[in-house]
């Protein structure tokens, strides 16, 4: 054979492999609003930047007549490309080939590209669309999952790991996304669960649809397994592009610097957001937008535990991670879910050199038997742990209420915030005035002729004396009491001067966080 023939032979082989599961399977995939695996990669990455490897990998299974089957690329597509001009490694499971089932060679392709990402110190993006383990390959398929999970863990905190769930992701397969930094889901397309509706029906007799059990909305709102919720694959890819603009390419780098832009102060006027009555709600995201460059804010886990708001913005062109109590939802309390949500985000920011800006306005912890029994002690402890452990610049702004344990937890001076600012509306106290007055003046109230009148009087007394920022400021726990309008200027300055912050941490293998 001459070179021409050999080249045409290569082209024929490529054509065959690129057809994936064939026309029928592709048609089926598209009929439910899904792109094919290769189309997804191309839609996500920069135009013409995708380069595919291991196209000719074939499965090596012999049992159950598998040796007679040809599975193009063994059901997964791997390669490298660029996102906003920066290199990334990527893989996408191809549902049209044997349902995207994971066999040994399929897993080998994934682990190979994961190893590349770690060597090159670039993000790894995994697009999941798979029926699960390839049962015919038995324990080798389990081995494949295990190899992926191990790498997910080793890469954690070194390179960004992004999981995109664009189809089923069931059984053991769910643990790869769960170990990665960010999980993206799409309504009606993503399905994640350990045991599916069929098993639940036969074992438990309970009936539930896939969407209700482990659909995109469930994982975005109830379980907290997902971080970004989209209604189409296209919107999902836009969210990924948006996210990567805020994060550094690995843990030795800082996020890319963007040109500084002023917030849209006409839309978000910081002085007018806070109601004077501390019992009244407002949307803390407006405060974030009144501070952030161009009022841009990328919220993470928007639907889950909405009583705390987390996400990325920029101040003076540099990425910061915002953590803010949300008085609009559950009065902004800390509870099991919001503690988990905040703590993990704090650790993410710390691992990837992203300074933390904490906005405080919370009444404390959510009371309830369900909360206590769900372990609010150990979950709440995660916030303390994460803030104390974080060595990135930490700036705190106390806007209104900061009572009791909540005050300590929300990156107080005591957990080594670099700067704590308080607005004149701040109320920093051991507990809310009503509760405190009831305890301190119990005798006076009980023995008074008119207990209700006395209680009111004592609450007022406590309020004027302690429900302000000046007691904490007198001890130096607050570095400056500032007018709300000064917030952005103070943040810009404090972030600028904290840039080269170094904290000495004691030698240890790792801590034992209250997971």
């Amino acid at each position: 054979m001459g070179i021409k023939q050999k080249t045409s032979d290569l082209q024929r082989r490529m054509r065959d492999a690129l057809m994936g599961g064939g026309e029928q399977a592709i048609e089926k995939q598209k009929s439910i609003g899904k792109l094919t695996a290769r189309e997804r990669i191309i839609a996500l990455l920069d135009p013409k930047s995708f380069h595919e490897y291991d196209l000719f990998v074939e499965h090596a299974a012999k049992d159950f007549d598998m040796d007679k089957k040809y599975l193009p690329g063994d059901g997964v597509i791997t390669g490298t490309g660029t996102l906003s001009g920066h290199p990334v490694c990527i893989y996408a499971q191809d549902f049209t080939v044997a349902g995207g089932s994971l066999g040994w060679m399929h897993a080998k392709k994934i682990t190979k590209i994961m190893d590349h990402a770690m060597k090159l110190k670039v993000p790894i993006i995994g697009i999941n669309d798979s029926g699960g383990a390839r049962i015919q390959e038995g324990v080798n398929s389990l081995a494949g999952y295990g190899e992926i999970f191990y790498r997910n863990t080793q890469s954690s905190g070194v390179i960004p790991q992004i999981s995109v769930i664009l189809g089923p992701c069931a059984g053991g397969a769910v643990y790869s996304p769960a170990l990665t930094d960010f999980v993206f889901v799409v309504e009606n397309i993503s399905k994640m669960f350990i045991t599916g509706p069929e098993v639940i029906k036969t074992v438990l007799g309970e009936e539930i649809t896939m969407e209700e059990l482990g659909g995109a909305r469930v994982h975005s709102e109830i379980t907290g397994n997902a971080h970004f919720f989209a209604i189409s694959e296209e919107q999902c890819f836009d969210q990924i592009k948006d996210l990567v603009s805020y994060i550094p390419w690995n843990n030795m780098k800082k996020a890319e610097r963007f040109p500084k832009k002023a917030p849209k102060t006409r839309e978000y006027k910081i002085e007018n957001i806070l109601p004077t009555d501390p019992r009244k709600p407002y949307d803390v995201r407006h405060v974030i937008k009144s501070i952030a460059d161009n009022s841009d804010f990328l919220e993470v886990q928007e639907l889950f535990a909405a009583n705390i708001v987390i996400g990325f913005g920029r101040i003076n062109g540099d990425t910061v991670g915002f953590v803010a109590n949300q008085p609009l939802v559950l009065a902004g309390v800390l509870d099991v879910d919001s503690s988990d949500k905040a703590a993990r985000f704090i650790r993410y920011c710390d691992a990837f050199n992203i300074p933390l800006v904490t906005l405080v306005d919370l009444p404390g912890y959510l009371p309830g038997i369900d909360q206590e029994h769900a372990g609010v002690i150990r979950h709440g402890a995660k916030v303390l742990y994460a803030y104390s452990e974080a060595t990135v610049p930490k700036i705190t702004v106390i806007m209104r209420k900061a009572y009791g344990g909540g005050y300590i937890a929300m990156c107080s001076n005591h957990l080594r915030a670099d700067f704590v600012f308080a607005w004149p509306t701040a109320e920093i106290a051991v507990m809310g005035p009503e509760g405190a007055a009831n305890i301190i003046f119990r005798k006076e109230i009980m023995t008074a002729e008119n207990p209700d009148e006395m209680r009111k009087q004592k609450v007022e007394e406590y309020k004027t004396k302690f429900a302000n920022p000046y007691v904490a400021a007198a001890y130096g726990y607050v570095d400056a009491v500032i007018e709300p309008a000064e917030t952005r200027r103070m943040l810009m300055h404090s972030l600028e001067i904290s840039k080269d912050k170094i904290v000495e941490v004691p030698m240890k293998k790792h801590g034992i966080p209250p997971f």
Binding site: V203, L204, G205, E221, I222, P278, R279, K280, P281, D283, R285, A305, A306, N307, P327, L328, V329, L330, A331, G332, V333, D337, P363, G364, L366, P367, G368, I369, D370, H373, Y403, G404, M431, G432, P433, E434, G435, N438
Partner: protein, 113 residues
Amino acid sequence: MKKEKTEIEENPYSELTIDSIDYQTLLTRKYTEKKPYKPKNPCMLMAFIPGTMTDVFVVKGQEVKEGETLAILEAMKMLNEIKAPFDTKVKEVYVAAGDRVIKNHVVIELEEI
């Protein structure tokens, strides 16, 4: 943004009391759907998992000793033993061998001591 504004106009706030202060706020689906706490009754022996009663060893009125196996509940490929938590008498048996039971189905009721 669009959504938040309409929500505020409809004034959907509920009251949430923390430290004797009533806050105006939105409640989450998880919060409103939570089940009220019910204390456990140790006399009611329930199926802790759905499954099949493969054996029932006791009858109404029978005296039982603490730790005695009263019935077998097969579930998740395991033969789970349902045991007496203290010395007492069987007040009522609600299942027979071969019955399929759902989670929290009362299997045996014991006399209070």
